[in-house]
Amino acid sequence: MLNITQSIGGSLSSPMVLAFLLGIIATLIKSDLKFPEGMYLGLTIFLLFAIGLKGGHKLSHASISEFILPGISAIAVCIIIPIANFFLLTKLLGFSTVNAAAISAHVGSVSVVTFSQVSIMLEKSGIQYEGFMPAILAIMEVPAILVALFLAQNSLQVNKEERRDLLHELFTNKGIVLLIGGIIIGMLTGDDGYKQVEPLYDGMFKGILCLFLLEVGLVTGRRLFDLTKVGPKLLIYGITMPIVHAVIGIILAHVSGLSEGGAIVFATLCASASYIAAPAAVRIALPDANPTYYLTAALVIIFPFNLTIGISIYMKLAHLIYSVW
């Protein structure tokens, strides 16, 4: 049923996935290919803003009332996932409090690139999804990080004033500002305004995502050998958890009244791990956490898994659940 070889094969016809692999290979063969400093940041700004804009524009044509239940589900899942993961990681897998919290912050939050990839795959398959999903993406960026830091309370190396700073930083991080800012601009400008900027933000989106994934591949490749350091338990965790999260996501999506397409996107968000807000917050709030664990989990295991196999699995799982329920 879940034909994994076929999924992998399918994803190998995606220029984005292939660009990601090229990046990894380039690092493995020790090529001098390196993106100029600033290009990663520039591409990130473009992608976040473009997702916001497109989402906002779709949202302006959607009815907001349908948004309330999925919105609540999104927040709920961002509280449940980090708590569950934190206990799993500390009690069962023997991670220290601070490392467990760091990993939970990452897996509880979401990945913008994984979101882009699932929307491209749905578009290709002709499956519709709710226009407000970028807003859900924005909602899911922060809460899990807060929950995870709360769980690490005692290990949290910040005093009261710094805690306030940290909260502030989380809610004003560039991911949030660009996504929500983009959504609002997309909603306010209307069709005429959107048409002016569409050739760049929509027309070029996939091409630029492809370039971005090449760079993500270069970074992932550099961290690939950390896999040997982290041991098999993190690997198994990183492949199992996304699927579990996706199933929770599909069920919650169904309960919230999302369409099958919406459920696939939501499941993918649940299964994805953050790489913008979470690493930045963890570096400041939990400087004792070992990046080898949280970066490897988020970037080297979960991200490629979702990109190549995960999303196809979630599409099939959603189809299964939506056809029997």
Binding site: L41, Q157, V219, R283, D288, L295, L299
Partner: protein, 101 residues
């Protein structure tokens, strides 16, 4: 002839996310100026070569010996135990000491 007088240069290398806090600290200690450069690096704790790992900044401030001591004391107390940070003092010579004192 120019008359050079000795002064202290404090150099701090740290995570770029700490930049604003560090600058506030050195201003509090009495520094009247500073210069910031973007750098990458590797130390005991971690690598700082990609945006995932967080890049570093190198902050330099030219100050009197007294202020230099104060800065070293402050940042050693506030950051040394908890963050990847390197700081050192060197002696340089300037022309117009008033500007920095």
């Amino acid at each position: 002839m120019v008359k050079l007088v000795p002064l202290k240069m404090v150099t701090i290398i740290a995570l770029d996310a700490l930049q604003h806090k560090l600058i506030a600290d050195i201003k509090n200690c009495g520094s009247k100026g500073y210069t910031v450069a973007e750098v990458e690096g590797e130390g005991i704790h971690s690598k700082h070569f990609t945006d995932w790992e967080g890049r570093n900044v190198r902050i330099e401030t030219l100050v009197t010996e007294e202020i230099a001591d104060k800065i070293m004391q402050t940042i050693s107390e506030k950051y040394f135990d908890r963050y990847s940070i390197v700081a050192f003092v060197s002696t340089v010579e300037v022309l117009r000491k008033e500007k920095f004192a």
